[in-house]
């Protein structure tokens, strides 16, 4: 197992190098940085000075090395707009996105897996057809539209939930992890907890739709697949209660593709977060990156994209490793 983990870890390195190189190259492709810094009409002498100072005349690989070295030392550059270090903005926005994504994934697993088991174990029943059709609608819906509809119905019309932001302005919360739900539980702050939960509900619902649909679909087909196998017939033949056949014998083996789809959906969560955060004014990384792209604030775009990609790589790695744990055969490939 350890050998398998190490082998997977080694495979990740070329990808990480490629990803950092791509984000590095992105900045070069966006035009002359001296214009961005000193204005369109900067004198050639000033431009040359800036180029000298930033080392823009060095070979590409040297510049790339410097970029990586800077990142490793924790220097993520400065935002062109706010002039503040990208790092301090990242510290603010990163936990918000993580909190939203975790909440959405929690909802998706909570709803998707039981629905999938029900649908799969009652193949062709009403609940099966309903789940299948619902899942199809779920993956076909533009997430930004669903978000707007939730906002309109539950936020504006029924006024059940707040529509924008992360927590009420009147709530005091001592931040530790910057995950507001976790922080309010740690500090035992009930008003902050209810406020944070109320604010996260609508964006998390919108974000959870697509993963819920995929998880339900995958669980369903894996269950159908496995319930048709011989060992299930044996389990039934020996008189095992159907409930135990489904939950103990079948579901455990259906877990493998489900884990994969949960992992893969993390990618769609990150992508969805970009649109969801924009709609609900959720102060997370997605909105941060979009605003930075619109404002051509490339140091922020660069780091935001890099962080997104690294999370994505890490999750895929975890999926692979859990695969090896769930199915020992995978390790000897």
């Amino acid at each position: 197992m350890i050998q398998y983990v190490i082998r997977r870890l080694l495979l990740v390195f070329p990808v990480i190098i490629g990803v950092t190189f791509l984000t590095f190259a992105m900045l070069l492709a966006t035009g002359d940085p001296t214009s961005a810094m000193a204005g369109e009409h900067a004198s050639p002498a000033l431009r040359a000075a800036i180029r000298e100072e930033l080392g823009l005349d060095d070979p590409l690989l040297v510049q790339y090395g410097r970029f990586v070295w800077r990142l490793l030392q924790g220097d993520l550059g400065r935002s062109i707009m706010t002039r503040s270090p990208v790092q301090s903005e990242l510290k603010l926005f990163f936990p918000a996105t993580i909190e939203l994504a975790l909440a959405a994934m929690f909802l998706a697993i909570l709803v998707g897996i039981p629905l999938g088991i029900l649908a799969g174990s009652r193949h062709n029943s009403f609940i099966d057809l309903g789940t299948t059709f619902g899942a199809l609608i779920g993956v076909s819906m533009p997430i930004f539209w669903l978000g707007l509809m939730l906002l309109w119905l539950f936020g504006l019309k029924l006024n059940w939930f707040p529509t924008t932001g992360r927590i009420g302005a009147d709530v005091q919360l001592q931040t530790i992890t910057n995950l507001y739900i976790v922080d309010s539980i740690i500090t035992g702050n009930i008003p902050a907890l209810t406020s944070a939960l109320r604010y996260i509900t609508l964006p998390a619902l919108a974000l959870a739709t697509i993963p819920t649909a995929f998880i339900a679909r995958m669980t369903r087909s894996a269950m159908i697949d496995i319930l048709g196998m011989d060992y299930i017939r044996t389990a039934r033949a020996k008189g095992l209660v159907e409930r135990l056949v489904v939950t103990k014998h079948a579901f455990k083996n259906a877990l493998l593709p489900v884990v994969t789809v949960v992992g893969l959906q993390t990618g769609s969560l990150l992508a969805g977060a970009i649109l969801t955060e924009t709609i609900f004014a959720w102060p997370g990384m997605g909105r941060w990156i979009v605003n930075a792209i619109v404002a051509r604030n490339f140091p922020v775009v660069q780091i935001g994209v890099l962080v997104f990609a690294l999370i994505f790589i890490a999750v895929n790695l975890l999926v692979d490793i859990s695969y090896g744990w769930l199915d020992p055969r995978v390790r000897y490939d």
């Binding site: 533009p142 159908i224 769609s268 924009t278 792209i293 990609a309 994505f312």
Partner: protein, 321 residues
């Protein structure tokens, strides 16, 4: 097998002899394409999908006839400032927007854009993806390594994020958004093609053809790539659904189609501030996107089942509980 290379390995009769001599029988009495179509037409959901796509394509073609208001030469719709924000009625089935434009007409013209986005992006991705995948699988070694590592790197980004970055670099706009969405899905087709090429490359019929002097290009085009066709078609139709959603998302963020284009995502984005007073301005563009995307998803699922019947039959074997 190598000592019994038939004289005309490309002809169908010898091919079946070839497989028969190995004890493999292929139960294909009729052409595979017709079989697939028949299976597809037996699938009710796939028919619904076809009907949806057909409706939207016809709408796009006959837009000038169907739409009440038509844009001028520059694609600009006339504004009717005395008829703003009229709720859905017989006159305006989808209501009017804040400029008095008929929402239905805007959406009818928007269908042209979404259809174009879907086919253009996926077409681009398939062309580049198949070329890269074929090179990678056929030549192997360093070529394979470089191409596939590049694909891995692209897959390390969530797709819409990579599309956003590409648009950020090459600039916003409809064409650029289509290109970005296309580039993002290249790895899918490259991987599918590579896998088929590798599995076919070493088969006897390919080696036989090579022994007869067929060059690499001919081998790829005539023998190897046709085997990659069905997974590519399935991925392509599902890919069109994703492409339309992603491009609409870019339009919504203001980085895709630009005004006055009636692109559905852009319509949603510019109308969202009116959601409280006139929700129909937001509801209908969203439903249109969902409708078309659903169509491609249904047809994609149907095609997958038709092309690989093992997948669809799996469920039938499960005993009823």
């Amino acid at each position: 097998m190598t000592n019994t290379i038939p004289e005309e390995p490309t002809s169908k009769s010898t091919l079946s002899q070839l497989s028969n001599s190995e004890g493999i029988t292929t139960p294909q009495a009729q052409s595979p394409a017709r079989l697939v179509l028949r299976r597809l037409f037996r699938n009710k959901l796939a028919i619904v999908g076809l009907a949806i796509i057909g409706t939207v394509v016809l709408t796009a073609i006959f837009a000038p006839v169907l739409a009440k208001q038509t844009p001028d030469k520059n694609g600009i719709f006339k504004t009717y400032l005395r008829e703003t924000k009229i709720p859905p009625s017989l006159e305006h089935p989808m209501g009017t927007d804040d400029l008095g434009r008929d929402m239905l007409s805007l959406i009818i013209y928007g269908s042209r854009i979404s259809i174009r986005i879907g086919f253009f992006s996926v077409g681009l991705a398939i062309i580049i993806g198949v070329i890269l995948g074929a090179l990678s699988g056929y030549f192997g070694g360093a070529v394979d390594n470089i191409i596939m590592r590049l694909m891995d790197i692209m897959l390390a980004f969530p797709s819409i994020l990579l599309a956003l970055v590409i648009v950020a670099v090459i600039g916003p706009g409809l064409l650029n958004a289509m290109i970005a969405v296309g580039i993002v899905s290249i790895p899918t087709y490259a991987r599918i093609t590579r896998a088929s090429v590798i599995s076919e490359r070493s088969r006897e019929y390919v080696q036989a053809s090579r022994a007869l002097g067929a060059n690499s290009f001919r081998l790829l085009m005539q023998h190897i790539l046709p085997n990659a066709l069905s997974p590519i078609i399935v991925a392509g139709s599902l890919g069109i659904a994703t492409a339309i959603l992603d491009a609409a998302g870019l339009g919504f963020l203001g980085l895709g189609a630009q005004p006055p284009t009636p692109e559905w995502g852009l319509l949603l984005s510019r109308n969202k501030t009116h959601i409280f007073t006139s929700p129909w301005m937001v509801i209908f563009p969203g439903i249109s996107i969902m409708f078309l995307v659903l169509g491609f998803n249904l047809i994609g699922d149907g095609l997958r089942d038709a092309l690989d019947p093992r997948l669809s039959n799996v469920g039938l074997k499960a005993p009823k509980t």
